[in-house]
């Protein structure tokens, strides 16, 4: 049984990404305990000089550290991820760098046809930055287009093929978590490197 934390990538009251995470939580409950973390009450990142994580950010960081892996589900705003999710990642990278070496799986839902494809691509690039250094599962894009029509009244995905694809990716992620945690050598070297990376370092 794995313990995952999932981050909802928007601060909106209405979000089909919330539905998606709730579905994942329910559908895979035999394989993993999945907590859904809401970012809507986190303050906006403003690069404070004391580099202290606000309470909510520290809480998220602690949950990430304790978890075996992280699932992020993001909508797409302006070909990218919402500012609210970006702000959360900035807090993590600027204060406690809790995502370093953490296995991450990405999902996304959007109202339109493209299903947040470009947001996910930006998100991958961001998570790969030296201050975040997450271990993103490669070749595992999961997109839900026309997300307003994708769920039934009970919050279940209606398209059986999508459920199958999600199952395969989720199973891969369970293995990916194990494999990533076995990469001890690389991990150690990165742990030495990353904390010394500073936003202002020369």
């Amino acid at each position: 049984m794995k313990n995952f934390i999932s981050i909802l990538g928007t601060n909106s009251d209405h979000s089909t990404n919330r539905l998606l995470l709730q579905f994942i939580q329910k559908h895979f409950k035999d394989q993993a305990n999945i907590e859904i973390f809401e970012i809507k009450d986190l303050p906006a990142f403003n690069k404070p000089e004391d580099r202290k994580a606000p309470h909510g950010v520290q809480e998220l960081a602690d949950k990430i550290r304790e978890a075996d892996g992280v699932i992020i589900s993001s909508p797409e705003y302006n070909h990218s991820v919402p500012a609210a999710l970006k702000s959360t990642l900035e807090w993590l990278s600027y204060t406690n760098q809790a995502l370093i070496d953490k296995p991450v799986m990405l999902t996304g839902a959007s109202y339109g046809k493209l299903g947040s494809s470009r947001a996910q691509s930006h998100l991958r690039q961001m998570l790969d930055a030296p201050e975040l250094k997450a271990r993103i599962m490669p070749s595992s894009e999961f997109l839900i287009g026309y997300s307003l029509q994708a769920f039934d009244d009970n919050g279940n995905l209606t398209d059986q093929r999508k459920i199958e694809a999600l199952k395969r990716i989720f199973n891969d992620f369970v293995h990916f978590v194990d494999i990533t945690n076995q990469l001890v050598n690389a991990k150690e070297s990165q742990q030495k490197q990353a904390p010394s990376y500073s936003w202002e370092a020369k």
């Binding site: 403003n46 990218s80 500012a83 970006k86 702000s87 900035e90 470009r118 020369k202």
Partner: protein, 395 residues
Amino acid sequence: MKLVGIVGSNAAFSYNRLLLNFIAKNFKKLIDVEVLDIKDVPMFNQSDDQTNSEVIQNLNKKITEADGVIIATPEYNHSIPSALQSVLEWLSFKIHPLDGKPVMIVGASYDVQGSSRSQLHLRQILDAPGVNAVVMPGNEFLLGEVYEAFDENEDLKDAQTVQFLETCIKKFIRFINVVNVLQSPEGMKDLSDTEDLYATGAIDTTVEGIDMSADDWLEQAAEATQAVEGNTYVKLNRGLLTVNQLNYFLNSMPAELTYADSNNQFLYYNHHMEKEDMLAGRRPEQVGSPLAECHPERVFSGVSWVIQQLRSGKQDVVRTQVPTHGPDKFVVHSYQAVRDDNGNYLGINEYVQDIQPVIDWYLEQTGQQLTGGGVDAVSGATSKVDTVSGATAKA
């Protein structure tokens, strides 16, 4: 040219703010830049619409009124800061001030990358349909290792960097002109309706009750107003001339002068040559006519655009080169706004000159030569030739 500079960070201290301040200070002869901060803009939340807040409305207004926008972005996690992202989300949610707006991207960062990756993200974001800005391609200005870039006066230390930045700024000025052309009458929009070219209204000085199109409008209007002429003295600011002296004086100007008032009525030209000898031909009987009767209909949209530029105060002068006079002349039509002491628009002074003799004289006197390509034509207004070249006699 009025530009807005947006600091892409909400941090208390930002090198990108220094960079924009430097651009505003160092290039003030070229551009007028107002630097705007975003640190008071709330985090975007589509469930809590704050579009009408003062801070967002202020950004909206400044961007809408500007000719172009310069965005200076740092790089956080290989992307732009959430603070800038949030601003762009507000400006693409219920309002869209960046739609069609020329944008230039610059960036400064602590590492050697100089915000290279965040600039690419920013381009993609600005290209999203909700934002729809017109971003200048190429001319990537990346300022890496920024902690060493400025001196104690907050000026960029490296002369080559400043030189390159100037090149980028000059290109941006030309880019704005090109974008304006795309969106001006040569584009899809017909602006003919924005100006009353038939002068159907009247202003304080309009001589009413006389047919503006009449060949002898001048004679009739002069009689109606009991206008003075000949050797009668007229008191001017600052001087005293007779009407004759005034005429000869205006005729001696090294340009063909035309006055049209704010009601779009053609009132005067310094008539001392026949139409065929003029650079922009006019006939005596045209005086008094509405501007619509002095132009073919196909250029109404262009003429309206020029008048709008002057009337709205967007530009004080619109220039255009008319190349149809052969290689020995360089004929420039300048449409100069005439304003009263309070800046109110009174009309247009169109002066037409061949400036080639002036250039030749300058080169002869200074012993200098023109070198091909070395002259940086910043104005770029030459692209408007077709719109206004018809501003002469219809016949």
